[in-house]
Amino acid sequence: MASISLSPLQTSPSLRVLSSYTPQTAPNLSFYSHSKPSIPFPSTSLKPYTPIIPRSRSRSRSRSLIVPAAVKKISETDLVAVPLTAEEFSQKLPSESGVYAVYDKNDDLQFIGISRNVGASVFSHLKSVPDLCSSVKVGIVDEPDKESLTQAWKSWMEEHIKTTGKVPPGNQSGNATWIRQPPKKKSDLRLTPGRHVQLTVPLEELIGKLVKESQVVAFIKGSRNAPLCGFSQRVIGILETQGIDYESVDVLDEEYNYGLRETLKKYSNWPTFPQIFVNGELIGGCDILTSMHEKGELAGLLKK
């Protein structure tokens, strides 16, 4: 173990004793910022000791407190400047599994994360919070199952907390800067306050207002999360794949969209559903949307 590794990416496993881990120091164990699965790669690092934990045991909850950490300490890992372009990234940062620590320009540790593709994760951090990503330390985990990745993360977290007495700002609970939040699914719009509430404006006007105020509105059968008709489902699929920000209205909702089907058919002079409106105009149903999607016409239409 006397060799000095020039590359910060090389790992030399060492045996470390982990004291029992108190949950207080690990708020919100949320550290998967990027869950791109990668194929386990052949290890090239020196292995004076190979921490082989039988799979069955490593997955069971009752495990020994002595766990070999798969990565070097943070303090022993070299700091690398974060590259600025995608090409540099692929050269300087590994697309392998491991733990990484991101530092700002004052060399203050901001966030410790684990990833199945460290390079890609750091790159996405650089895109979302460039000001906080100045340099990075990386520890590749040789046998990147969830267990060993978590162990590596814990060891770095613990070391940092021991040294500084602080949890990295990005790892504090409630901090959403580094962790990719699950995309918020919009909910379907309701045109009326309820079936038994007397409308003060005709439903036609409500429809007109809605389709003119929102760039894209899809009137579908069922909700956008669970369409009840194959055509509506295809429409939602296309809009989602295109990354289009759209509103949806469930025409089968008899409570909050009572009478909508008949009124909408008259409003749009279109007898079937789904119906898709763009900038207040009916562009058609599933067939037309599909055809436009296949011809690549959707993006152009939405830019207008």
Binding site: K221, L228, C229, F231, L252, N269, W270, P271, T272, L282, I283, G284, G285, C286, D287, I288, S291, M292
Partner: protein
């Protein structure tokens, strides 16, 4: 089925073909009844046949019209059917020129 009147004696598919033929002067009409694929669908009443169709129609009258307009022309021609239980129509509407171009691809 007999209780629905004489109109039912001619299938909906045939009526649709006749209407499209006369109104749109279609050169090609391919009509496929896919109602069975939608059995159990919320809007399909039990025993309700001929509710869902795939239609491919080629007509010179589509020339110069957008897809929305073409579909509307088809729907207008079939207004009675849509009123009386035709539930969904998947439409491919082309002009003879477009059909020609597509077949040479």
């Amino acid at each position: 089925m007999g209780s629905r009147g004489a109109n039912m004696l001619i299938s909906r598919a045939n009526r649709m073909k006749t209407k499209l033929q006369s109104v749109l002067e279609a050169t090609t009409i391919e009509l496929e009844d896919v109602s069975h694929q939608h059995a159990g669908h919320a809007a399909v009443k039990p025993n309700n046949v001929e509710t869902h169709f795939n239609l491919k129609i080629v007509s010179p009258k589509f020339s110069g019209h957008t897809l929305v307009k073409r579909h509307r022309m088809v729907y207008d021609a079939l207004a009675d059917e849509l009123q009386s239980g035709l539930h969904a129509l998947s439409i491919v509407a082309k002009t003879p020129q477009e059909e020609e171009a597509a077949s040479h691809r």
